[in-house]
């Protein structure tokens, strides 16, 4: 059994919960279908988005330079981080040079990838997540189970009890989601007002203008950047796109694919710090990406815009949950990104795929995710991580199939007479 299959089996033991999990994510898939089926040009948009990403990734050096020089012209300070350690160090240096003791963050999977929160905490800096889902799992000490809906695996009761323990809600036993959201809002207001810096990720970096674009539903990116005087934005190299025309294509696809909404409630564009604030910092993070672009078989995985729709449609993800995967990004794209990151550590995820290819039919940038997983399976012997039992089984099967006589003997003992031994009317 693969690592994933063991965890999946444990997940499925609770039939009621796993059924709820499957239904919850299927409902998101259906919302996405309703949205995509409402746009006549949907398939053209996907093709266009894919082409833009292929073009940008294959000219990334130029677009990165353009992005950085435009951002600097706008008065932003641009940093380049080769890996997670350098990224964390840069963030810490910016914060300590401004005497910041507390930072508020809007959602960023990149900081999760780099392990930024524990690093800053070890240096005595308080980190407060402000996306509600992220805040909930931060208080629980959990990792996200989904990249867009990080706390969707929790029930209102679990959240209600957490808020009672943390003193966030004061009506004990009131687990009404509206009430809980209201209490979270009050608690976060205070964090925004007392933080020394705000950090955001970025959905897109616009090369032509040096802007970054952040899409949220809660407005927390805006609060994180408009209360504190210091804004740090972190983005992976692959987030840069050429211009606003490109953005228009992705904007039509991203939220429809992710949550089945026509757009996020807030699409925030940041070009430079507001008057009176400190200059804005942008950190461009490589952390493996420049190597992955050179991977002939798998570089197209970098087209991903992190909408999460491949997770929602994946019949295996829905029935095994985010924590059944060893990489911090689960589901089809997570299987692929994990293999790019460290194939030895994450080979146990490649079994989590029936090759149904639903993921590549929903993917707004048309990554051939299932086909990529098929390719990774072929490569496991390079790292010696292919399952020994499967290797033996396949060897046995191929011996039989390569020897028609052996095959005839083997199929001859079955209850039904095999087709090849039947007399067909034409033979007579």
């Amino acid at each position: 059994m693969s690592k994933h299959s063991k965890k999946a089996k444990a997940f499925l033991k609770d039939a009621g919960y796993s059924e709820w999990h499957d239904a919850t994510f299927w409902a998101v898939r259906e919302k996405r279908d309703n949205m995509s089926h409402g746009l006549p040009e949907w398939e053209q948009l996907r093709e266009k988005a894919s082409q833009i990403k292929l073009h940008t990734l294959s000219h990334l050096d130029q677009y990165l330079e353009q992005f950085a020089s435009q951002a600097e012209k706008n008065g932003t300070i641009v940093h380049w981080a080769a890996d997670a350690a350098e990224f964390n160090q840069i963030v810490f240096e910016i914060l300590s040079s401004h005497g910041v003791k507390k930072i508020v963050k809007s959602k960023s999977m990149l900081t999760e990838e780099c392990g930024m929160n524990p690093y800053l905490e070890s240096k005595g800096i308080e980190v407060v997540e402000t996306d509600l889902g992220e805040r909930i799992i931060q208080l629980l000490g959990q990792a996200p189970s989904h990249i867009v809906m990080p706390a969707v695996h929790l029930t209102p009761d679990q959240v209600g009890e957490l808020f009672e323990r943390e003193g966030i809600s004061d009506e004990i036993g009131n687990h009404d989601p509206t009430y809980l959201t209201y209490r979270a809002r009050l608690s976060l207001r205070n964090e925004f007002l007392t933080a020394g810096a705000g950090m955001t990720g970025a959905n897109f970096g616009i090369a032509a203008t040096g802007d970054i674009v952040v899409c949220t539903n809660e407005g927390n990116a805006d609060m994180s950047t408009s209360c504190p005087k210091l804004h740090i934005a972190a983005l992976g190299l692959e987030k840069v796109i050429p211009d606003y025309d490109s953005l228009a294509v992705f904007q039509r696809l991203l939220c429809r694919s992710a949550t089945g909404q026509p757009t996020t409630s807030y699409t925030s564009h940041f070009r430079k710090a507001r008057p009176g604030a400190e200059p804005m910092h942008i950190i461009l993070v490589d952390n493996g990406r420049s190597q992955w672009i050179g991977n002939q078989q798998h570089w197209k995985t970098l087209k991903c815009i992190r909408c999460g729709s491949c997770m929602n449609t994946c019949p295996v993800y829905r029935r095994s949950g985010g924590y059944s995967y060893s990489y911090f990004i689960p589901g089809p794209v997570g299987v692929n990104l994990g293999m790019l990151r460290d194939p030895r550590a994450h080979s146990g995820n490649v079994s989590a795929c029936t090759l149904c290819k639903s993921c590549q039919c929903v993917c707004p940038v048309k990554i051939d995710l299932g086909e990529q997983i098929y390719q990774w399976r072929q490569q496991l012997p390079e790292w010696g991580t292919e399952p020994a039992s499967k290797r033996m089984l396949c060897k046995g099967m191929s011996t039989v199939f390569n020897h028609p006589l052996l095959y005839k003997t083997a199929t001859g003992v079955l209850p039904k007479k095999p087709f090849h031994s039947l007399k067909l009317d034409k033979d007579e």
């Binding site: 089926h37 072929q378 039947l422």
Partner: protein, 243 residues
Amino acid sequence: MKIGLFVPCYVDALFPQVGVASYNLLRYLGVDVEYPKGQTCCGQPMANGGFESQAAPLAQKMEELFQGFDYVVAPSVSCTAFIRHHYPSLLDHECKMAGKCMDIVEFLHDIVKPTAPLGSFPHRVSIHNSCHGVRELGLSSPSEEHIPQFNKIRDLLQLKEGIEIYEPERKDECCGFGGLFCVEESAVSTRMGLDKVRRHAATGAEFITGADCSCLMHQSAIARKNGIQIEFKHVAEILAAGL
């Protein structure tokens, strides 16, 4: 036009009646069909499991076996999809099989194009839209994509008088077979299969029908184990019934 019938290993061994139905159906429709001897497996199970190199000699064998035929027709969407999409990279020379191998549903629908009624089948059937049929061969429009709706299996079944055709809720969600997936990820595979069979049964159908015996095999084992009363027939069996 000479047609070679490919009866994949597991159909040959476990569902010989599907091979017979395919052969009879093609003959009934006036197709010049032959079954070349010496067939075993296309290599898909090993390749999907991660051992594609073991499929290469089988691809070579298939290429030779079906050399003289204009089309190769198989009652199995996943084997056909494997041949079409993966054989070219397995052979070190030009691959003819990939271009001429068709699943029986697409061959009938796109090439033979029968229009006259094919007898009657007065039963309620639920179509199982197999993943590789939908998303690799285009037997029906994938539910994910915003393209005009079509279903070649439904089109063919409508040639049977008295038939009532249904599709389950989540009409093309995977049944969880997935070749060696069902061994390696048995818990998820079983759960997917049960969910699928229940949705088919909820249509009120007497039969689940599809173009891939492997999906039907997986679901029929699960139906039996869980006491769900529903029967399974390959599309070719229904089309050939009573001819």
